[in-house]
Structures are given as C-alpha cells and as structure tokens.
C-alpha cells in the first residue's frame, strides 16, 4: 500500500495528458523521467493504457484469490465509468460481469488460475473513444493468487493530433539504434579477426553470455541494471580472456590452421549456446528495470527513453573505442598487430598481450551490446547467434578486420534492416540484411573501408 501516494504524486507532478498507469514499483523513477519530458508528453501518441494495480485493490489481492483487473481510460476522456466487462473461461463459459467504477477500474474475481477471455462492450464507450488495435476481447492467463492486469489499448484519436511520427524517420532512428548496437557487438569481432585472422563464430555467444549474466545479477540478484551491466561486462571480459588463454593461444601455438580454428569456433559456439539454454532455459525474459517506459514524441519520431539511452551509450562507447585505438599505446599496438603481425612483433610489441586485451575488450563490448539488445528485445538463449549473422554482415560490409569498417558496416546493416520494413514484411527483415551482404560482396568484396589485399 505504500506505493499509492507515490503513484498519486507521480501523476500530479507529471502532465495531465494521456497517461497510462504505471507499475507501482517504478512509479517514482518514471515520474521523474516523465517530468523532464513534460512538454513532449503532452503530445503523446498513445492515448490510453489500462493496467491493474493489485496493491491498490486490497479486497482482491489480500484474499489470495485469482482475478482479472484493469482500468479503462484515455487522455481526453479520463477514466471511463459504466462499461460492462465480461469474463469467460477459455472454453466459453461465462464467469462474471462487472462495470467499471468512476475511476474507470474493474476487477472480476475468477474461480482459479487459467486462461480467461475478457471482453468490453464497445457500445458503452463514450463518443470519440474507440477500441485500439487489440480489439474488444483479450485472452489473459491468470497465475495462482494473481490479480492479472488486462490492458485494452483504447484510442481517442489523439494519435493524429499534432506531432506523430513519420514512418520512414521512425524506422531510420530505430535503425540507427539497432546499427549502433550491432556495431558495439561487432567491433570486438572485427578486431579479433584483424589481430588473429580468426573468424570467430562463437562471438554471438559472448553477447548471449553477457546478457544472461546481467539478467541473473539484475533479476535474480536484485541489483539495478546499470551496476549489473558493469558486473556482467567484467564477467564478459573474463570470458573473452578465458577464450584466448584456454583455447586460442594454445591452438596458435600448436599451429592449427585457420580453417580448423574456424570449425573449432563453431563447435565452441554450439557448446556454449546449448549450455546457456540448459542453464538459463528456452524462454525469453526481460530485465527487471526500465520495462514500463512510455514512448516520448520528438515530432517526427517517437522513442522510449531506454532506446535513447541505448543510442547515447553506444555512441559514447564507440567514440571511446575509437579514441583508444587512435591515441593510446595499446590502441596503436592493436592497429599495428592488425596491420602486420610480424612487423609489430619485431618492433617490440608483445603480440600475445595485445591479442589478450582485444579479446577482453571484445568480450566486454559484446556484453554491453547484449544487455542493450536484451533491453529492447528481451533476453534469449540464442539472441547472440541470431545477431551474429548481422554482425558478420556489418563487419564484412565495412571491411573484415578494420575497426571503423565494423562501425560503418553495422550502422548500414542496422538502418537497412529496419528501413526495409517499409517495403517488406517485418518478419523477413533480417533476410534483407543478408541479401545486402551478398550484393555488397559482388560489387565491392573488400568492403567499404577494407583494403584489396585482405580478400585473397
């Protein structure tokens, strides 16, 4: 119950416009986010949310029974009272009917856990308020002793008023976010290739492991996501170092050929990927923090604050990597080793040490990329492997083995993949990215920034 005042304050201090409910635990943080964006919030696209606040309904929550709950309201109409809500079991047997109260809330107790269909009567909605994309009936699964929130996305026409997003610009921004994310993951892949010649098919697993470690620290350990990410990045760097020390350095010493090493990396990729599936499981799950953010309208596009943060973090990290490569001794050594390993070794550079640092950096960056990906798409056991193909596309596009090429190529792949949904369905958008890869190999096999000598 302690959350109620927070929630009230959050609403009071925020804008009066289209505000859905907030998750109780994140109310304070969100109100701060929203307050700082107040003028933008006023033109918010999304008009209505419903979401139950089990804690505000003591009668239901404390009785330890199952229920479906929700709130009907939009920004223009405010809470909508007197709308009949019908709950049926999945088999179609009626359970109960309720009407929303003056706060727009409804709560229907259900006999037990299971699937229920919740229907509202569209006729009873006030003028100007319409059903959203989700329709009038929703199927929800109620867990044991849970008051399951139901979310009807009601629309009140405000999405067309002022602002709004231009689809192409929206996709461009999404594409930039996605491309930067790929770049963060792929810089390590490219540097590893440049310094050792290894095409590391297990790089996607570095992404997955990082994201999963951060998930465990964040969700199971209860540590906020930002420190959890830092912990995961340290683990990721350690995993990268372990890769180099336990596998690749001994293999180089044995004189294992690059093709054999490539197949070894595939074996490693399978090993790690399915180990993650055993430990973590086959489901996809979000992080505990920053999940309930609303999109913020920037005129021609909308974006959640976590997407904005993702872009900012990616840019800052990539700039830091570039500065490191240009200015620091270890960065120059990396470029020297990538350029000509023997020459670098003969001029006094400890090649093995440089490669170790590259692996650690690659591991940490892949972890960061994994967390950013998990933040936008949830954490999954094969997320890294699926991203790996786009990383390869980006790295090849930019020029295998060049750090800046990875950046440019990844950005292009990310933007291309997202923008392609203008013309092709979104479930085949990755195919477009992979096609782009094939086309670019025909036209300019060395990639955008690559040199002719590298392609053999």
């Amino acid at each position: 119950m302690t959350h109620a005042p927070q929630r009230a304050r959050g609403h009071g201090e925020g804008s009066t416009a289209g505000r859905g409910q907030v998750g109780t635990s994140t109310a304070r943080r969100r109100s701060r986010w929203l307050r700082s964006r107040r003028p933008l919030v006023l033109t918010l696209l999304l008009a209505a949310f419903t979401m139950a606040l089990a804690m505000l309904m003591p009668g239901i929550a404390s009785a330890a029974n199952e229920a479906v709950t929700g709130t009907l309201q939009t920004s223009r109409s405010g809470p909508i009272a007197g709308v009949p809500v019908t709950v049926e079991t999945a088999a179609g047997d009626p359970v109960d009917t309720a009407e929303t109260d003056e706060n727009g809330r409804f709560a229907v107790p259900v006999p037990g856990p299971g699937e229920y269909e919740v229907t509202i009567d569209p006729e009873a909605l006030p003028d100007g308020v319409e059903l959203g994309d989700r329709g009038e009936s929703l199927t929800v699964t109620v867990g044991p002793n849970r008051a399951q929130p139901v979310l009807f996305g009601l629309a009140d026409g405000t999405s067309n008023a002022g602002g709004g997003s231009v689809e192409a610009v929206q996709l461009l921004v999404d594409g930039i976010r996605f491309g930067l994310l790929i770049a963060v993951c792929a810089v390590g892949l490219s540097l590893i290739y440049g310094t050792t010649g290894l095409t590391n098919f297990a790089h996607g697993e570095l992404v997955t492991i990082g994201a999963v470690v951060a998930w465990y620290v964040n969700v199971q350990g209860g540590i906020p996501l930002i420190p959890a990410t830092i912990i995961a990045m340290i683990v990721g760097a350690a995993v990268g170092a372990l890769n180099e020390l336990a596998i690749w350095r001994p293999l180089r010493r044995r004189g294992t050929g690059l093709v054999a090493a490539l197949v070894v990396s595939i074996g490693l990729s399978m090993l790690l990927r399915y180990l993650v599936q055993i430990v973590y499981g086959g489901f996809s799950s979000p992080y505990a923090d920053y999940q309930t953010q609303r999109t913020v309208d920037y005129g021609v596009f909308t974006m959640t604050n976590r997407s904005l943060a993702s872009i900012v973090i990616s840019v800052v990290v990539l700039v830091l990597v570039a500065l490191m490569l240009q200015r620091t001794t270890i960065g120059k050594a990396m470029r020297a080793v990538a350029d000509n390993r023997d020459l670098a070794a003969s001029s006094g550079i400890d090649v093995n040490r440089v490669i170790l640092v590259v692996w650690m950096m690659g591991g940490a960056l892949a972890t960061l990329g994994g967390v950013l990906l998990g933040l936008s798409d949830q954490v999954q056991w094969d997320m890294g492997f699926r991203l790996l193909l786009l990383m390869f596309a980006g790295v090849t596009l930019g020029g295998l083995g060049t750090a800046y090429g990875a950046l440019v190529g990844s950005l292009i792949v990310g933007v291309f993949v997202q923008m392609s949904t203008l013309v092709i369905p979104s479930d085949v958008k990755y195919v477009g990215g992979l096609l782009l890869l094939i086309v670019i190999l025909v036209l300019r096999p060395q990639g955008i920034l690559g040199s002719r000598a590298r392609i053999g």
């Binding site: 010649g197 095409t199 098919f201 596998i247 293999l251 044995r254 294992t256 050929g257 690059l258 093709v259 054999a260 490539l262 197949v263 070894v264 595939i266 074996g267 490693l268 990729s269 399978m270 090993l271 790690l272 990927r273 399915y274 180990l275 599936q277 055993i278 699926r386 193909l389 390869f392 596309a393 090849t396 295998l400 092709i424 369905p425 479930d427 085949v428 990755y430 195919v431 992979l434 096609l435 890869l437 094939i438 190999l441 025909v442 096999p445 392609i455 053999g456």
Partner: protein, 332 residues
C-alpha cells in the same frame, strides 16, 4: 542393465534410420565441398531445405507428380549454389562460410515467415506429399517389421532402403569422381589454388562445380528427411544440423569416401545412445535431478557434439579414417 540394452537397441535403430541417411547425405555433400575442394559451406542445411520443400511445394501446393518435385528440389539447389558461389568463390574461404551460413538462416526465416505461408505453409510447414513414394513400397507400408529386435514400419523401412541406396550411389559417384582428372584438380585446389591456376585451370569453374555437386547431394538428404517424416517444416532445418553433419564428417574422416557415411552412423548412434542412456540414468536417480533434468537432455546432445567437434579438430583432425596430411587446411 536392461535399460542400457534398450538404449542400445534404440540407438541401433538410429544407426540405420532415416536421420543417419539424412546426415550421411549432408556430410557427403560437405565432404565434396570441404574435404576435397576446401570450400567452407556452412549452409548445407539450406540445400537440404530446398530439396525437402522442392518436393513438398510441388506436390502439396502445385499438385505436380512426386518425381517432378524431386527435379524441382534439385534445380532449386543448383540455383542456390550458383547464387552463393558467384560472389564468394573468388574470395578467401571465410567469405563463403559467412555468406552460406547467412543464406541458410535467411532462407529459413523467409520460409517460415507469414508472407511465405501461402507457398511454404509458414511455421507449420507442409505435409501429405509422400504418399506416392511410400505406396511404391513392395510391402505393406503400414505393417510392422521386426529386425534384430528393433521395430520398423513398412514405410520407414522403404525410405531407409531407398535412402541407403542413394548414399551408396553418391558414395560411388564421389569415389569415381575423385579418382578422375576432375577430382585431382579439385584436390589440388584444396592444397594450393595458385599452383592450379598457374597450370591454366579455371579454378573458379571447378569450385563452382564442386559447390553445385555437394549442394545437390545435400538436397537429396533433405528430400529423404522430408519424405521420411512426412512433413516439411522450416524450423526442422536449423543451422545446427549443418554443424552436426560437419561433426559427422570430421568424426569419420574428411576427404575419405566412406568417412561421412560411417561418421553419420556413429554420430547418430552416439547421440541416440547418450539421449536414451542419460534419460535412464536421470530416471533411476543416478544423476541427481538438480544437476540435470530430463528436459535438458536434448540440449546436452548439442553440447556434447560441440565439445566433440572441438576436441576432434584439435587432437585428431583426420577423424577415424582420414589422412592427417589431407586435412591440415589453412585459409589462404
């Protein structure tokens, strides 16, 4: 102990079952690519998928006869090989590997997408296209047959018979080809491409021919799989299968005619034995539930394959039958 024997019997069936045929055909194709020519094709499963869906789409969707479906599948595999080979075969080996793995994943995503559903059946795939073939069986396809303590349906037996016939035919073909002048050129390309080019051979054309040949053999593998299971579902054609086939090839011995065949049989036997055996051990409480639950067994197999692949490559790259000198490959 009896459970161990059961596991052995079930694994014994896997030794000869359609999955062993599937992997044997994939691996024979990969052997032509990787073992003999030195091409890194990591998208072999895409060829298999085209083979399987070639039949499925032709029969279920277009109403064509079964044998036309086979031709469609082969033709699709040839087209894919040309498409993949054209841009990449002039480049270093790892470019082909990246493009093939990308193409395999991309094709699977395309086949399972909503927009492809009218043709491929989307995520549910297609079924009911193998009746023409199963009905050719000289015995009752629905009856049960007991062979060495394992039970087979007539249809399974028929598919297995034809499948192993295909494996034999392609093994003989590869054997003869690799003894021919063509085979010597291809092996020379694997060893030193520049030397072959200096002899005036068109390396690009030879590589392309090898890619097409191996791809078509892989397509037949996909056909056997689709016909045996009676359905073609895009998600059956996961990339991991390509790597299972690589593991089979390397286990048996690359650049050996029988390497992929023996390797696939052994791999399937090991996988099935590990699967049944682990489940039995978990059920009997030998392995505590906390450490490993029976739902994890399916994944453990892939972990073992991954580990096995790494260890083989590092410690015995020639596998069981291979010649070490022939498999010390290096990307140029």
């Amino acid at each position: 102990m009896s459970e161990l024997l059961d596991a052995f019997a079930i694994a014994g069936k896997a030794f000869f079952g359609f999955q062993a045929i599937f992997f044997a055909l994939l691996a024979i194709g990969i052997n032509v690519h990787f073992g003999y020519t030195g091409l890194l094709n990591f998208g072999q499963i895409a060829f298999a998928m085209l083979g399987g869906f070639g039949i499925a789409i032709s029969v279920s969707m277009w109403g064509l006869p079964f044998w036309v479906g086979v031709i469609v599948g082969v033709a699709a595999a040839v087209v894919l090989a040309l498409l993949l080979g054209l841009p990449t075969l002039r480049l270093r080996a790892d470019y082909l590997s990246i493009v093939t793995i990308a193409a395999a994943e991309g094709l699977r995503l395309l086949f399972r997408s909503v927009s492809a559903t009218p043709v491929t059946g989307g995520t549910r795939g297609l079924s009911a296209f193998n009746a023409d073939f199963i009905n050719l069986a000289p015995w009752d396809p629905a009856g049960r047959h007991q062979i060495l303590g394992t039970s087979w349906s007539g249809g399974e037996l028929w598919v297995a018979l034809i499948g192993w016939l295909l494996v034999t035919v392609f093994s003989l073909l590869v054997w003869q080809l690799m003894r021919s002048p063509w085979g010597r050129v291809v092996k020379a390309i694997r060893e030193d491409e520049d030397a072959v080019r200096a002899l005036g051979k068109n390396v690009y054309a030879y590589k392309m021919q090898a890619l097409v040949l191996g791809g078509v053999i892989g397509a037949f593998g996909g056909m056997v799989y689709a016909v045996a299971t009676g359905s073609a579902i895009p998600d059956q054609y996961q990339n991991a299968n390509t790597f299972l086939a690589y593991a089979a090839l390397i286990l048996g011995g690359a650049a050996r005619v029988l390497g992929p065949v023996i390797g696939s049989m052994l791999l399937l036997f090991i996988l099935q034995f590990a699967d049944t055996g682990l489940r039995a051990l978990i059920d009997n409480g030998v392995i505590p539930e906390a450490l490993l639950s029976s739902t994890d067994v399916a994944q453990i197999r892939f972990v073992l394959v991954g580990l096995g692949l790494m260890l083989l490559l590092v410690f015995r790259p020639q596998g069981i039958f291979g010649d070490r000198r022939e498999v010390m490959l290096d990307a140029r």
